[in-house]
Symmetry: C3
């Protein structure tokens, strides 16, 4: 499934519309290009609907949000709903500030994402706004929030993808666990945001949001593992990650994949 | 000509004022530094006129535009006209949304750029707003829009530089064709935007916009070819591109250049 | 001191709140991660106070400023003052435009930074707004502005860190000089901004702003030197810089450090 969908991304080059944060725009665009998708970044309220109208998936990321961007996110999200294309929401830093928590919840209600992808702290904060998170890093493990993820999935009617040492993807009571990846990935900014963008690419070619989210996390983890083996640190990791994402073969995936439940 | 102008850029370090998109700000600044120019990014309506007043070329790129930025682009562009410094316009995604097409056309009229540099879809859309483009990638070849490029050049009284497998640079009825480059360059975000910034650097040191545009595209293509030979994928390509742009010698250029018409 | 503080950064992972420019957000976030700190970028006026409230240092950089960002900078700065956490101000391009000079001076007055880190032209312009600077690069040496740096330090009651071939850090009449570094560092965009972010990380773990500023500049210079030795140009330099910052050992620092006055 992962391999077949990756082949589809490479051959179809689906356009992925990203409304994302300033920190990662370049790296997520490059990751989408490396996987074979076609990224577009556009945030002006004047054009987001039209841009979403051209796309096969919408990825919304609140990493460096501000009021005009939130407006655009909602407008784009509603258009994506109308067109029934998948929407990935990355609630970066949800729980760290009231504005982020409020915005993430507002986006949940108004655009009803297909997939929510975040770290454990963000997912917990999204379910229960009383949690305190430290900036944009996670202070919980994904397993610690397993029940919250299931609850959020049921309440919001969407797939919840929680990244961590073990990634957990839940769709109601269905759960997948992925044990690929490497701690070095947390030493590069925006790897979570990249995971969300790649999730959008898989969702563009697979109508099962659950499978798309699982494939994305597995591929991220596998590519990350190989990249770490070839890297002296987080600088060289970044370029190796893109090189490997661009050229990864079926055999690399088959040998390394550690996925349960899909 | 290319080599002499590159030497001038390296020795004079012309200040290039960029009002560009969030995705590529870092990479275009680094490309301008690598070639020997001095980049500045500034977009506040309060300061763009003054910043353009210090620069030897202005590069405007609508990749992630919004209303306040458009205002600043116009203000900066008018100051550049007044000072008679070259203006490069990169109409990123023109044709993809009405806002982009409208903005590109408005910029054309209000600031009258010296050089328009875009891909085939963007150039076609700029001439005839009825074309449909897919995001920011090109769905036409440069040769398919040759006549439109000539027409646009004459109508707008400027040089039109169309990137593609073969780059086409037109100035009225004069045309140059450059066959350097490599498909890998399309797998890295912002290579077109980098081409526009580099065009600005050449225009800063050569009063012929036609020659400047041709030199920039040839150098981009040559550096890209060498970088691909040393790279395992789009990640390592990016760093090799900067390394080679920084240190390229006359002999590399002479051996590889495939330029007709200049 | 440098090594002990670096160990503290690595073990405590202090959260550093950055309100910085678009060009360098990604690279400074990655530098902060590589050194072991935890970066967060947030600029919305709705959330900056709360985010600063979670942080152990605030870094303000006016590289691509605009009016709403200035408001947020002031709000965050006041909260940082209230909480008595260190504030690093990087007056990028101060002197190049009236808006930048005015904003830098306004920030000085309203938030009273703990450390000002800039190049010689910026420091001079901050003291005396009549100076003309060329874009964001420096046209003076740090030694040429030594007296201005002392004067600024006394007038503003803060540490002044001037980068250059020799970095000068002054705190009233106390001065440190650091001769590490390499000219290649000026060929990569945002190395100054990275220095400011790293200064924030050291200030988060050392209550002496003077020592923090000196450690940061020495580490930047040493890592830069090693990176240049392993690099073919400014592209590979960037990745080597991060790799080395991530893994640098005490012996590398001891062997190379050229610091006087601390």
């Amino acid at each position: 499934m992962l391999w077949e969908d990756l082949q589809r991304i490479r051959s179809e080059a689906p356009l992925i519309h990203n409304i994302t944060n300033y920190v990662v725009m370049n790296t997520t665009a490059n990751a989408l290009l490396a996987i074979g998708a076609s990224p577009v970044m556009a945030h002006a309220v004047e054009e987001v609907e039209e841009m979403t109208g051209l796309a096969r998936a919408l990825v919304i990321n609140i990493g460096t949000l501000s009021a005009p961007w939130v407006k655009a996110m909602i407008k784009a999200g509603k258009e994506a709903r109308r067109r029934k294309i998948p929407i990935v929401l990355d609630p970066v830093g949800c729980g760290a500030t009231k504005f982020r928590t409020y915005t993430a919840q507002k986006l949940m209600q108004e655009i009803r994402p297909t997939i929510i992808r975040g770290n454990a702290s963000e997912i917990r904060a999204l379910l229960c706004s009383s949690s305190g998170t430290k900036g944009v890093d996670s202070s919980h493990t994904s397993d610690e929030v397993f029940e919250e993820a299931c609850e959020l999935s049921k309440a919001a009617g969407c797939v919840v993808s929680v990244s961590g040492a073990v990634d957990i993807i839940v769709d109601g009571d269905t759960v997948a666990r992925i044990s690929n990846g490497h701690p070095m990935m947390a030493k590069v900014t925006g790897m979570g945001c990249t995971a969300s963008a790649i999730t959008g690419a898989f969702a563009a070619v697979n109508s099962s949001s659950f499978k798309a989210a699982a494939s994305a996390m597995a591929l991220m983890g596998i590519v990350g593992e190989i990249a770490v083996e070839r890297s002296a640190g987080p600088g060289s990791f970044q370029l190796n990650f893109l090189d490997i994402l661009f050229s990864i073969q079926k055999s690399d995936i088959d040998q390394r994949i550690k996925m349960q439940g899909v």
